[in-house]
Symmetry: C2
């Protein structure tokens, strides 16, 4: 019965992992707020044309990997494969660019969809967090966006981060470079993959991104972008790098770094995470400067620039697990109620409601039971205190309060319980923000 399974390439996220995703999203949004960013949430699907337009000429290649379907009104809809196109469409739809406060600074977080062969760590439904800074254009903005990505990852606890950065120059620089690449690859193309044949025609810079080993080998001796840069682009890149120096951000120039989509230009970057032995865990963030996206949706062309980045949440989660950075996520129960007898069970019902309204996480049984299983449950839920009471305690208006770590027990009167707990749980109690 295959249908009790989630659809191939999707998976359920439960308990700790789900809390971790929420934690990553929370830290991300707090740092983005501090940089003056606003939250944006676009729909999970768009008219297919939105993604065709954003990805440009290469839509055939991209469309193979999209979840495209017809709705009941015969519209071609597509589940978003990434976040940028929807945000750009939304800026135009809602005329967000009509503001004295350019650049627009928007952050998003959500699920994305790609119909690819499922592989280890690659899902058809996956989560991205990202930002777009749109409508103004200069090295301060480029450097601040790279800094934002770094500060987010540092706030999550990552160490050993390294920015790999490159410049794709302005349009004229790129055209000159593409010409040189075509001349270099044309005599070699017969030995290269099908997709690269197409890339040679549409945008030879994409060949440099090809994942096929022999094509990567071929690309190693290809001409480098740096030789084709205009003086202006060089100066701009230099300024961006010196601003990164101001912030003590560790970077290295990687002139093999090209982001293949047609709309990228000027600065592009990735953030890599290195172990203390220097092992590179790969890129956990990718981004760059882009041009011309607003006008593909009918937006204004005079402010049609931006810079942004995206990060994969599943990837961040898996690295945080490896590096043991998720200790803030685990939720322990504050209290477990252990009523003995029917009257105490009923008393526990009202008591748990009252204690929860004070902000405590409370475990309580729904039927009469023995103390043994309740203490086992207390262990599983990592409860800090047990509140034990039966007929005798009810009569005397007291509870037995047991510190489950220290293994000590005190008798506390009903009226004193809130202040008793406040005194004993206050140290640890303030991690409720998450």
């Amino acid at each position: 019965m295959s249908n009790v399974n989630p659809v191939k390439g999707t998976h359920d996220v439960i308990g700790f992992e789900a809390d971790a995703y929420a934690y990553i999203e929370h830290v991300f949004s707090q740092v983005a707020y501090s940089f003056g960013y606003d939250r944006i949430v676009t729909p999970i699907f768009e008219h297919t044309e939105v993604f065709d337009r954003a990805t440009g000429e290469s839509s055939d290649v991209v469309r193979k990997e999209m979840y495209t379907f017809l709705d009941k009104g015969d519209r071609s809809l597509t589940l978003r494969p990434e976040g940028t196109a929807g945000v750009m469409r939304s800026i135009v739809t809602n005329k967000l660019y009509v503001t004295p406060d350019l650049p627009l600074k928007l952050f998003y977080s959500g699920t994305m969809y790609r119909y690819e062969r499922p592989q280890l760590g690659r899902f058809r439904e996956f989560r991205q967090i990202g930002v777009e800074c749109v409508g103004e254009d200069n090295p301060y903005i480029d450097a601040e966006t790279i800094a934002l990505a770094m500060r987010i990852l540092q706030s999550l606890g990552f160490q050993g981060l390294k920015v790999k950065v490159n410049t794709l120059g302005d349009k004229a620089s790129r055209e000159a470079y593409k010409k040189a690449l075509r001349e270099y690859f044309a005599p070699r193309i017969d030995d290269m993959c099908e997709d690269c044949h197409q890339r040679l025609v549409l945008n030879p810079m994409r060949i440099l991104d090809c994942k096929v080993p022999q094509d990567q080998e071929m690309a190693k001796s290809a001409p480098r972008m740096g030789e084709f840069l205009s003086e202006e682009s060089k100066q701009r890149f230099k300024k961006t790098l010196s601003l990164l120096d101001d912030l003590d951000i560790d970077y290295e120039i990687d002139d093999g770094l090209v982001r293949g989509l047609d709309y990228y230009g000027e600065v592009v970057f990735e953030i890599h995470c290195l172990s203390h032995l220097g092992k590179d865990y790969g890129a956990i963030c990718g981004g760059g400067h882009y041009e011309g996206l607003l006008s593909t949706f009918g937006g204004p062309s005079d402010i049609d620039v931006g810079v942004g980045f995206a990060m994969g949440v599943e990837r961040i989660y898996s690295l945080m697990l490896d590096f043991d950075l998720l200790y803030d996520v685990r939720r322990d129960a504050d209290l477990i109620l252990m009523p003995m007898g029917e009257d105490a069970l009923r008393e526990a019902f009202a008591l748990s409601d009252a204690l929860r309204s004070l902000g405590y996480t409370v475990e309580a049984p729904y039927r009469q039971g023995k103390l043994g299983p309740l203490f086992k449950r207390a262990e599983r839920k990592r409860a800090k205190y047990a509140i034990i009471f039966g007929e005798e305690e009810l009569k005397q208006h007291v509870y037995q309060v047991k510190d489950l770590k220290e293994e000590t027990q005190e008798t506390v009167s009903v009226t004193d319980l809130p202040s008793y707990l406040e005194g004993h749980l206050v140290d640890e109690g303030e991690d409720e923000g998450e």
Copy 2:
């Protein structure tokens, strides 16, 4: 150019509204945690059969309103129309029921999809928060679930909440009731809507949910559930109500309240919000007890009971706006930097990064400008303090710090700035939790 618009029935959520949704979700999850619930996130689409099975016989009626499509592997997939079916499928897929800690207590939050005629306040992409408490079954659990819904809404600031509650009894009670309803409606059905013709055959209790005015009129004199209840169901309902009394939860029995889906039984409820003049704003939460859902996915039948509820986030947001409950959501900038001259602009770049890393929300310009426009921007961003500096201040290692509310200004040395800000912003600074 229709394609720069979001797809019909979907909409972009930006800035304050997006923050409000995140706030509602955050409060919801905090209260759910305190009740011992775990977070679950299921995929946005499932095999269509998942929803067919969960909704049972009536799938024809339901399917009309579903976003169903074929993927590239010719699988019939459906964007989830509600949250319960996916959670039940996930409990079975992941064998979550194999635990000593029944009932399972799971909460979810996410977008749902229904292909209906768009109406005021009704979207094809909409957000729900909800819980499922699965695998054990008694009045304590029913009452606690109703209490949880109340505590969530109260934590959001709602007042004047009233629970409408009813019992649908056990299976035998419902069969007897359905028989009586068939006898009552059969001679009247010719005057009723198309859908009700089908409902009469499949499940006549659904007729009572019909929104067509003349059908509602007809339903007013129909037999009531109460006459057909078994003694056991009566006692169980009575216990549930007395537990609600223990928690001072305001409820009223509404014997017209039936939830039409086949799997509901025993207690069902809605939470309504009343104005202080008694005006009913309608149901903002609906839920109830259900049976048989796990086994439709191949799960165990001996623990196949649950109780849950769902709330519409758009509806909650719109009421919170009306009742002015969103004052915690507005984010003001803490600081705006006002550098005068190129050197100060560059200094501001590093300063803004340092202040943001201390947790402050900082606005800063990316190019040289005049003070006038910066003060206007400070107003738009509701900045609390302006930090003003030019050549002279750089030379003397000081900043001019202006309290924008009090209109006072002080000279603060570079090294003293962090402690100065901590002293002045600390009162208001601690709403960072959101």
